[in-house]
């Protein structure tokens, strides 16, 4: 910095100052205390300072530290330190001088010296302060200049590199040094979008949504659309699946040795056989007719049990899933979003959608998540207000609870039942399955249709941009238990604020009103056993006395469930029969 060099007092000031002090002090001390040995005479330079006193030796150190000051640019900190050292040096000297003053009070001539010295000191101090101020100003001026340069650079370079693939910007073709932005690995493994671009893309089809008439649907795999188990986790009761599948495998392998088919074999017929056997045992006419219907409807190519040899896995698709996807595809652009491995996700997508019509490349797996153990809609190229989510786990969607339609878990295999702590026979062990026509997927499809038609309801005017699936979902949910007034009895733990209990919240979201005390408008009493006062009251007043399972089932099915199925007295039976379905 030229300015520093130009400032005359700076480069020489500390030297001058030091030598001046040396001269002054030496003269004082030699006069004052002749006992002190003085090696050199009054020569300038650091040597003269050395021996006079420890204080002055300190000075010498300061001076050394100040040396870089000459010629080179000063940082702000240094500037301040100079000020401080200068000041403290001044103080030290002054104290010394004052001591001497006291000692030499009688010497009038000396007082004159001291006065002169003080004046010089203060002038120098002022100069130092001024210098530091100038440097400060300079420092900020340069900072400002730098910022301006940056701003200029960003405006002159027009490409903001919105999308980067394999470290090349897709707009200008420039090579990028470091990867930034959100990775969309499911589209292409090296594709990255900047935040702004993501925002732009997501808003892009807002205006087209009326024309395209499609919303977005994010689907979870495990326990929502299907259920998988590893060979080694299968129980003895499930062994029939293995042997059965093996015989079928022989047939299909001869048909197509090559590729996927060896790994994915529909074994639909097998399940039906199992059900017929089971049906025979139950000897209920209705069940038999249902199963027979199913046999007629079921296309073997769309089987639901698959054996994936190279993954050592059995996968069971949820009943109704094919119809569900076919119907939902008309209304939604569908994504798969799973916490599984990419390979697993791709394989499951192929089972669900062999021709790639429903999902194409929209299969998001664990590696694409932007946050650990959380699913997020940020990698979904659709606006949050147009996305519905089907998942069986609420916790992974912390940020998007309002978009979520919670699914009843589908447990087909015993291993998955155990995983969630059910100590009962699994559907596979019972050789049974969820009902197709009024199972979870069928009910949810109904809800989806409702949301869809409300979103695109033309009678609501053309302000489609303001519509929000979250609001619609909320309003539909509110209708479910409208007019019900619920009190809970021995459901919440003692001293637990009932308003914050999940069941209470659930009931309110479903449109019911909740209360803590019995009164006339109460319609339902939710209790764990019949012995409580409220339960007795309910029996006496002929109110519905239901198990909390009633509320949960209502929540899953979006429909007020028949209260007879959830009687508290039936608790024991309920658990054994309904647990595999829940």
């Amino acid at each position: 910095m030229s300015l520093v060099a130009d400032t005359p007092p700076n480069s020489s000031s500390s030297d001058d100052f030091a030598s001046l002090l040396a001269v002054e002090l030496d003269s004082i001390s030699s006069e004052a205390s002749p006992e002190i040995e003085v090696e050199d005479d009054y020569e300038l330079g650091p040597d003269s300072l050395e021996v006079t006193s420890p204080d002055v030796e300190d000075d010498h150190d300061y001076e050394n530290r100040d040396l870089p000051l000459e010629g080179c640019r000063l940082s702000l900190v240094e500037t301040v330190s100079i000020g401080v050292t200068g000041w403290s040096r001044h103080r030290v000297k002054r104290r010394k001088v004052e001591e001497l003053e006291v000692m030499e009070k009688t010497n009038g001539k000396h007082v004159e010296y001291v006065d002169k010295f003080r004046l010089k000191c203060s002038v120098l101090l002022l100069l130092l302060l001024a210098l530091s101020f100038v440097l400060l100003v300079l420092y900020f001026a340069e900072l400002h200049f730098d910022l301006q340069l940056c701003a200029e650079a960003s405006t002159s370079n027009k490409c903001l590199h919105p999308v980067v693939i394999k470290d090349i910007c897709v707009v200008c073709g420039e090579k990028m040094e470091e990867a930034s932005g959100v990775a969309l690995g499911y589209i292409h493994k090296d594709l990255r979008l900047s935040k702004d671009e993501l925002y732009r893309v997501r808003n892009l089809d807002k205006k087209n949504s009326l024309r395209n008439k499609k919303l977005y649907l994010v689907l979870d795999l495990d326990h929502t659309l299907l259920n998988s188990t590893r060979f080694k986790d299968m129980t003895e009761d499930e062994a029939y699946l293995k042997t059965g599948a093996d015989t079928l495998k022989g047939r299909i392998c001869s048909f197509d040795q090559q590729y996927v088919l060896t790994n994915m074999m529909p074994c639909g017929r097998l399940i039906i056989k199992g059900e017929i056997r089971e049906a025979g045992r139950q000897t209920t006419n209705a069940v038999v007719s249902r199963v027979i219907n199913k046999v007629q409807n079921l296309d073997l190519d769309e089987g639901s049990l698959f054996r994936l040899d190279y993954m050592q896995m059995f996968t069971k698709l949820r009943p109704f899933v094919h119809t569900f996807l076919k119907e939902a595809n008309k209304m939604f652009e569908m994504y798969i979003y799973t916490m599984g491995e990419p390979l697993y996700a791709a394989e499951m997508a192929r089972l669900l959608d062999p021709s790639g019509v429903y999902f194409s490349s929209r299969v998001i797996s664990q590696v694409d998540c932007t946050q650990k153990h959380q699913k997020g809609l940020d990698v979904v190229l659709g606006q949050d207000s147009a996305v519905l989510i089907l998942d069986d786990t609420e916790n992974v969607w912390q940020r998007h609870r309002e978009n979520l339609i919670l699914m009843e878990r589908y447990h087909y295999f015993a291993s998955s039942c155990q995983q969630y702590g059910f100590n009962c026979k699994s559907l596979s062990e019972l050789k049974s399955d969820e009902r197709e026509l009024d199972g979870a997927l069928a009910t949810i499809l109904h809800v989806l249709k409702q949301v869809y038609s409300m979103y695109f309801d033309t009678e609501l005017g053309d302000t489609i941009g303001d519509r929000d699936v979250r609001k619609i979902l909320k309003s539909i949910r509110k209708e479910v238990l409208k007019g019900c007034k619920i009190i809970f009895s021995r459901v919440f733990p003692n001293k637990f604020p009932p308003q914050s209990h999940p069941l209470w919240k659930m009931a309110e979201q479903l449109g019911a009103t909740c209360a803590t005390e019995v009164d006339e408008p109460v319609t339902h009493v939710v209790a764990m056993d019949t012995g409580t006062e409220k339960s007795k009251w309910a029996v006496k007043q002929k109110k519905f006395l239901v198990h909390p399972g009633w509320l949960e089932a209502t929540n899953y099915f979006w429909e007020r469930q028949p209260e007879e199925n959830f009687r508290v007295s039936q608790l024991k039976n309920q658990e054994s029969s309904s647990a595999p379905h829940s």
Binding site: P162, I165, K166, V171, E174, S360
Partner: protein, 177 residues
């Protein structure tokens, strides 16, 4: 761009191939080994057109394999920035589309697709003009210009544009059908 160049390679041949057809075996092996590979320097080796020279074989100690230095002519394909290519569309999505020109994969971003073409989702996602006359979907053939390349040891990836004169769809399978 295609180039006809001479390359050299050391071929190792198993002793069982020694005999009157040694040369044929060597050439056959060369074709098997080289054609379709990619080198960052020369691009993709499309075809071997002739063998210029086969040097003296050297017996490897211990294995009995013989190493022949082989000089061969071949056609290589290497895309360059600014080059015009014709490619087949393989995948269309909201971000743009992927296309292939032989072994080279090219991505065309929606920024570099003409503004009057809009993305249509559905069973067959595509980019269509507002009047519906031009459509880019899977298996469409497009003429595009390369604006950036990334050359790896085994793969070449390009970024292209169709936002320029005389670029775009050259044969639309949907329209022909």
């Amino acid at each position: 761009m295609f180039f006809h160049i001479v390359l050299e390679r050391n071929m190792q041949l198993h002793p069982r191939h020694f005999g009157p057809h040694l040369r044929d075996k060597l050439v056959a092996k060369l074709m098997r080994d080289v054609e379709g590979t990619c080198s960052g320097r020369h691009g993709f080796v499309v075809a071997i057109t002739g063998v210029e020279d086969i040097g003296k074989g050297l017996i490897r100690e211990g294995t009995g394999f013989v190493t022949f230095p082989v000089k061969y002519q071949c056609v290589v394909f290497r895309p360059f920035k600014g080059e015009i290519l014709e490619a087949v569309v393989t995948m269309v999505n909201k971000m743009g589309f992927f296309a292939e020109a032989g072994p080279v994969q090219i991505f065309v971003s929606n920024h570099l697709i003409p503004d009057d073409m809009e993305f249509q989702s559905g069973d067959m996602p595509n980019y269509t003009t507002s009047d519906g006359s031009v459509k880019i979907q899977r298996d469409s053939e497009v003429r595009l210009k390369i604006i950036g390349t990334r050359v790896d040891a085994t793969e070449i990836f390009c970024i292209g544009t169709i936002k320029d004169d005389f670029l775009g769809v050259i044969n639309d399978p949907g329209a022909a059908a």
